[in-house]
């Protein structure tokens, strides 16, 4: 018989997560939901794509996470002339013991936390260099594969308005991101608080909240969160409903979606839901956890029809429609009862 993680373990996980979350909230004011999603992505060991206007604190969030977790942190500013070798590293001719040999010099990807700032400004060639790193946690240069340090997170940002000279991420690369989060603006109260509490916008210096061992412990606890069969079925039905050729797909999806989400999306939702459950203090995944992570995990995986895009339909709205239409329990109650 499977044993559920105990309440004490849940409390321990909440404590660990709370420390990181409080530190992030102290750095990034008024972005609680964004911080939570970043924490969920971190616990699920997924990569995060942040999309928002400049100045909303995307880079600051990533930097804060790096400091709070005590991880090595690198920032790469993606530009059109950035080459793959610039981020993966490459062999350098060196003289050792009287012989000249090529020695691999690791690039900025060799860090626990990599901030790929304005990732859509790099050429597709450079973007694709991230594919192996994000999926395999390894880099291959000149036929030699180099493992990336663990944990390895890529937090990328992109600007949705400056599209001149940018290269939109291909679907294959988008699929590697666990979440794509649209960073919202902040309210006037939050801006007032920022103005009064910070000089020149400098956030308070964040101390390390989790050690490497504690981070490993947190990951182990996340892995112990139980995903019930009923909830897994809900995730599967949700992802299946994104495919327009499926009968159970809502009419809106059938009209607007060209390609639905892949099984990787279901895996991402399941993993993210485990982290969300732990963040909510539950030893198991509930339907609510799935619904919480469904939008950031699914929206960027849907390929919409051109007519739908022109008509103003957004993937986020479609996922919300899916959440309304797909029943949480596979076998709904008869109409005779309520």
């Amino acid at each position: 018989m499977t044993t559920m993680m105990t309440a004490a373990e849940v409390d321990r996980a909440r404590t660990l997560l709370g420390a990181v979350r409080d530190g992030c909230n102290a750095v990034l004011l008024g972005q609680d939901e964004l911080v939570d999603l970043a924490m969920i992505a971190l616990c699920a060991r997924g990569h995060l794509l942040l999309e928002g206007l400049p100045g909303l604190g995307k880079t600051e969030l990533v930097k804060a996470l790096g400091r709070l977790l005590g991880l090595t942190f690198r920032r790469v500013q993606f530009t059109p002339d950035l080459l793959p070798g610039d981020i993966t590293g490459g062999p350098i001719l060196q003289e050792r013991e009287g012989e000249k040999v090529f020695v691999f010099q690791p690039g900025p990807l060799f860090a626990n936390l990599v901030l790929a700032d304005e990732i859509n400004r790099a050429s597709p060639k450079t973007q694709s260099a991230l594919l192996e790193a994000m999926q395999e946690h390894a880099v291959t240069v000149l036929g030699e594969t180099h493992a990336l340090p663990r944990p390895f997170f890529v937090l990328a940002t992109q600007n949705p308005i400056e599209l001149e000279g940018t290269y939109p991420l291909p679907e294959a690369q988008l699929d590697r991101f666990l979440f794509k989060v649209e960073v919202p603006g902040v309210s006037a109260d939050v801006m007032t608080q920022i103005l009064t509490s910070r000089r020149r916008g400098q956030p308070p210096a964040a101390a390390v909240a989790l050690s490497a061992a504690e981070l490993d412990e947190l990951f182990a606890l996340v892995d112990r969160v139980f995903l019930p069969q009923a909830v897994a079925s809900y995730v599967a039905r949700l992802v299946a409903a994104t495919h327009p050729q499926r009968a159970e797909s809502p009419a809106e999806v059938q009209q607007a979606v060209r390609y639905g989400a892949s099984p990787r999306a279901a895996i991402a939702i399941g993993e993210a839901a485990r982290a969300a459950a732990l963040l909510a203090g539950r030893p198991n995944v509930d339907f609510a956890d799935v619904q919480r992570v469904a939008v950031p995990a699914l929206a960027h995986r849907l390929v919409l029809q051109h007519t739908a895009v022109v008509g103003g339909t957004t993937a986020t709205a479609l996922v919300r429609t899916l959440l309304e239409r797909v029943p949480a329990v596979g076998r709904p109650l008869p109409e005779a009862v309520q």
Binding site: T2, V231, P283, V337, Q338
Partner: protein
């Protein structure tokens, strides 16, 4: 004491099953009620009635069966029930995990038990307001139609045994009729054929109608009366001409005697002036002399025809009957040769030409003509229409509203004496006219439209 997760899940499943059963049964009840109402209504429209019977309770069997089938079809599995109940109670997936066999620690079990306390409020409620109205309305409709008073019963059909008894009786009567006296061969054959047809119909398990039996009996009555009248006629009035038999030639003496008889009852005034002058010249000493009458046959025939017509005037026969004796016998001789009194058929005379008077090929209703008896006064008679029984379709032809035995109002006269020169009427005697009710007014108008311009009565 909160229920265990297993108990809570089973209770939830049971409640859902009850709801599904109720929904299925009520849906079946709706269909069955509508069907029953339609059938009962259809039976009503076709004049039939199905009275409620205890056996109708068996109709509940398919209703319950459908409810049971629906409950099985929509049966909720334990996992689905646990998921529904977990969501309704806000247990955060603990009940689902427990149902899937995950072992919970003590605090989690306490949390689960605390949540299950509110089980009664989380159980699904059956939507009676949505389920009940239509089936209840349909059931009330069917019950209302079933409880309507039955329509008036149609006339009972003739039973097999009664028809057999009646046919035996008619056969006996026919045998007596044939044994009592002479019956024309064609009439005899027709009666026997009719009887045989009825017997065959009865043998084929097809019960004959009362109407046919009554018709046969009526014909037997008529033939009996005709037989009796034929037997009485020779005794009172000498030889009677029979169809096809040669008749005695007219003699001036017979005509003179007949004129005496008509004069005695004052019926000579209706004769044409020419004939009246002829008779005036033939008078001697206040009586008609045979030798003073014209001796040519044509003149005598015209005179005889005119006297026969006069004798047929309304009331003339009654007046003549009062005379009795030889005068009446002489007159009967004349009348018998010119269709007076008992000539049958309309225009059935063999006399050529289309004359005006009886016996000359004109319209002659014959001596068998009787007053147009419209039977007894009754609803639906000639004086007024009677509505058809409810539920009866409007007949295209005519429909017997009833069949009763009544005595004819007019004494029949023997179907003797054909048209002129021994030619008898070919039509059957019409001592009793059978008319459909809707035709009676037309016939009455035809005959009562007023006397013809020349004063001749059509009758």
């Amino acid at each position: 004491m909160p229920p265990t997760p297993h108990t809570a899940t089973v209770t939830f499943c049971r409640r859902v099953a009850v709801g599904a059963f109720a929904a299925g049964a009520l849906r079946a009840l709706l269909v069955a009620s509508v069907a029953a109402a339609a059938v009962l209504l259809g039976l009503r429209l076709f004049g039939r009635h199905a009275a409620p019977q205890p056996a109708w309770a068996f109709a509940a069997a398919p209703v319950l069966a459908f409810g049971w089938w629906n409950a099985r079809r929509q049966r909720l599995g334990r996992a689905a029930a646990a998921a529904h109940l977990d969501r309704r109670l806000g247990l955060g997936g603990l009940l689902i995990c427990r149902d899937e066999g995950v072992e919970l620690d003590a605090p989690q079990q306490r949390q689960l038990a605390a949540g299950l306390v509110a089980l009664p409020t989380a159980l699904p409620r059956i939507r009676w307001r949505a389920l009940l109205p239509w089936p209840a309305a349909a059931l009330l409709l069917a019950a209302g139609i079933a409880l309507l008073p039955p329509p008036p019963a149609p006339p009972l059909p003739l039973s097999q045994s009664a028809a057999a008894a009646e046919l035996d009786r008619l056969q006996e009567r026919m045998r007596d009729l044939f044994a009592r006296g002479e019956v024309p061969a064609d009439t005899r054959h027709e009666l026997e054929r009719t009887l045989q047809e009825l017997q065959h119909e009865l043998a084929a398990a097809d019960v004959p109608q009362w109407r046919d039996l009554d018709e046969l009996e009526r014909r037997l009555d008529r033939e009996g009366l005709l037989q009796a009248a034929a037997a009485e006629a020779p005794a009172q009035a000498g030889p009677v001409s029979t169809p096809g038999a040669p008749t005695d030639p007219l003699t001036p003496a017979a005509l003179a005697a007949a004129a005496e008889a008509l004069a005695a009852v004052g019926r000579l005034d209706g004769l044409p002036a020419e004939l009246q002058a002829m008779l005036q010249q033939a008078q001697r000493d206040g009586a008609f002399a045979a030798d003073l009458l014209p001796q040519d046959a044509e003149a005598l025939r015209r005179l005889a025809a005119a006297m026969a017509a006069a004798a047929q005037q309304p009331g003339a026969l009654q007046d003549l009957a009062a005379l009795g004796g030889d005068k009446l016998a002489d007159l009967r001789d004349v009348l018998s040769q010119f269709g007076g009194g008992s000539a049958p058929g309309e225009g059935g005379s063999d006399v050529g030409g289309e004359g005006e008077g009886a016996g000359r090929g004109g319209v002659d209703r014959g001596p068998g003509h009787a007053a147009l008896a419209l039977t007894e006064a009754a609803a639906g008679g000639a004086d007024g229409a009677m509505p058809l029984p409810p539920g009866q379709p409007v007949p295209t032809e005519w429909v017997p509203l009833g069949s009763r035995r009544i005595e004819p109002e007019t004494a029949p006269v023997a179907n003797t004496g054909g048209g002129g020169q021994g030619a008898s009427g070919l039509g059957g005697a019409s001592w009793q006219l059978q008319l459909a009710p809707r035709h009676r007014a037309i016939v009455r108008r035809y005959f009562d439209a007023g006397a013809p311009a020349n004063g001749e009565d059509k009758r």
